[in-house]
Subunit: 354 residues, 2 copies
């Protein structure tokens, strides 16, 4: 049960000094005779010794802990990602400390400070904030920032890795799917306008729209988003968007939502109007949360390979630590995959009216 077994006791049991044990612990066993090393290992096992993390951290200033900051664990996408990341981290001997930013830059910064004070030097940040200025000073002082779901932007602090799907491709694939089904009036719905991936997905959307020979200027645009929009839960954003889109101008026959939770809200909004999903109005989401396949109708969506992404994130941390490479910054872009289900179908002969 590892209560209070110290490195001294191990040293005594093995008949060596503490520094030798320490060397073994930190994989420097090359510096000693195999036989010595074996004795140390035996003692460690016999006593069920586990190094005290606090002492180690006090000494080195480092922890084997990865900070994870997500916008909201109550969104199953982030919950699932957290689980995957934790799994991957544990495999490398790291712990995960989780924080919820609720998309609030203040809380985001608060968590980074908190984690920093705790000696955490590796943070996987799931943010969509355009600017990272508030974190620049931490990065300068040695914070290993891994950005998730937000590519590195010009102007970002250096020494940052990023992992995410190619959102441009994602937006474009979702859109082509719809235009291929004959849709010509496609709306794009997202919450915060300031999010980076929103911008990129929207760009992909526009590119595909134009490639299909449609006039982007004629598409229904959701101008909504009152001042308090950032505080709305994603599904509510979707629901409102539908109500707005169908109460002014010619309505869309298809809607692309910035993520699955928003898409679910969009679906609810469509049902509120008495319209059919996948018939009157098609809906595409992003993420592929487990629920996407469970709801009725099941949701067509752009899948993010979270297990893969989580593993890559941890790999970045581990690699950085091992190689101490403070120069290169990896921007990893994974290919998204469109999962076609029942929420999308052929465009109706003429648009439904709310």
């Amino acid at each position: 049960m590892a209560d209070k077994v110290t490195i001294q006791q191990v040293a005594a049991a093995a008949g060596v000094s503490t520094s030798t044990v320490s060397n073994v612990l930190n994989s420097r066993s090359d510096r000693m005779q195999p036989e010595t090393r074996d004795r140390v290992f035996a003692a460690i096992r016999a006593l069920d010794y586990r190094p005290n993390r606090a002492a180690r951290q006090l000494r080195t200033g480092q922890t084997k802990t990865i900070g994870l900051i997500v916008p909201s664990v109550s969104n199953p996408f982030w919950g699932a990602f957290a689980r995957e990341l934790e799994q991957a981290a544990l495999g490398h001997g790291y712990n995960v400390l989780l924080g919820n930013s609720e998309r609030d830059p203040g809380r985001e910064l608060g968590y980074v400070e908190e984690l920093w004070d705790n000696g955490v030097r590796d943070i996987v940040l799931c943010t969509s904030l355009p600017s990272l200025d508030h974190l620049a000073s931490f990065v300068e002082r040695g914070l290993n920032l891994i950005l998730f779901d937000r590519p590195v932007q010009p102007g970002d602090p250096p020494l940052v890795a990023s992992i995410g799907i190619d959102n441009h491709v994602g937006g474009s694939v979702a859109t082509s799917h719809l235009t291929g089904l004959g849709h010509r009036r496609i709306a794009f719905v997202s919450g915060s306008q300031r999010s980076v991936n929103r911008t990129v997905r929207h760009a992909g959307f526009l590119a595909a729209v134009q490639a299909a020979g449609l006039d982007a200027a004629e598409l229904p645009v959701w101008a909504g988003l009152p001042a308090d929009a950032d505080e709305l839960e994603a599904p509510e954003v979707g629901r409102r968007a539908v109500h707005d889109l169908f109460s002014a101008g010619p309505p869309p026959t298809a809607i692309i939502a910035i993520n699955d939770m928003t898409a679910l809200g969009v679906c609810k909004g469509i049902r509120d109007l008495g319209l059919g999903i996948g018939t009157d109005v098609s809906v595409v989401g992003f993420d592929d949360i487990p629920l996407a396949d469970l709801v009725s109708p099941s949701l067509t969506t752009v899948r993010q390979p979270i297990a893969r992404m989580a593993a890559l994130a941890v790999e970045q941390v581990v690699t950085r630590e091992r190689t101490d490479d403070r120069e290169s910054t990896h921007a990893i872009l994974l290919r998204p995959e469109l999962v076609v289900r029942d929420s999308t179908g052929a465009a109706p002969a003429e648009p439904a009216r709310g």
Copy 2:
């Protein structure tokens, strides 16, 4: 930015000794003159001093960290609970370290060990395992175990608090709702048979069934659950249950699922059969995850007041710490609330056939 400001520097700046600063830090300012205290506070603020947690922990053997072990963060219920708990903990100056047990006793134990080694002495454990024997030795050595969603059982180690809803009432309220709608063939579906809250909810179910004058022996029972059932995701359990229930014997007109995710799977199973939810078959869940109101049809469910429960959990931790009360063990049972939505309706004239 709090880089390397130590207690010495604060002491020097305030013109006092480190122990005085330490006393201020640990709310023992009564031991000094107000003026001294003020100077210390001023110095702390001026230098933006933050105590080094590792050093503090090394010295005291304690951390202001609450461990939270949930069955699965990818279930939005646990995600939402984690968020609430974190919020409450932060308000009291505590951090939260999150772990996913995946309902595996081994992983559960692994996390407890890991947390213990990290100096964590307060753990909120969301478990449904009947026996807590594997944790008894930790409790003896001073672990503050707060059980969530699993009442204290006879035979549990002492010194454990528990927080949860009254599952008996929950099971019974859900059932009465259905019998009130005229349902007479009601099935009860849950994953692991060994879970404690499953037992209690089922007991409440049976009590209500009998109170309604029905013969429990005649109810459709889901005997399913092959050996690998523990590894199934909750929705899949629900889906399979429906298939089994409708392929043998007279089918139910209503189904109570052990939680919302399972209920969602049940709904999917019902749709697979081409039957209507809330018409042919009524469905009730437990939890009231945000999605319950979002899906179609919206889900009737027994709500767990998570924000309240999370606040209570943290309160337990804080109170224990302050009063150092190692004797009393609080078992807090909150009243659940039935939220009636569209997945339940009057019993059909005669049961549907799959």
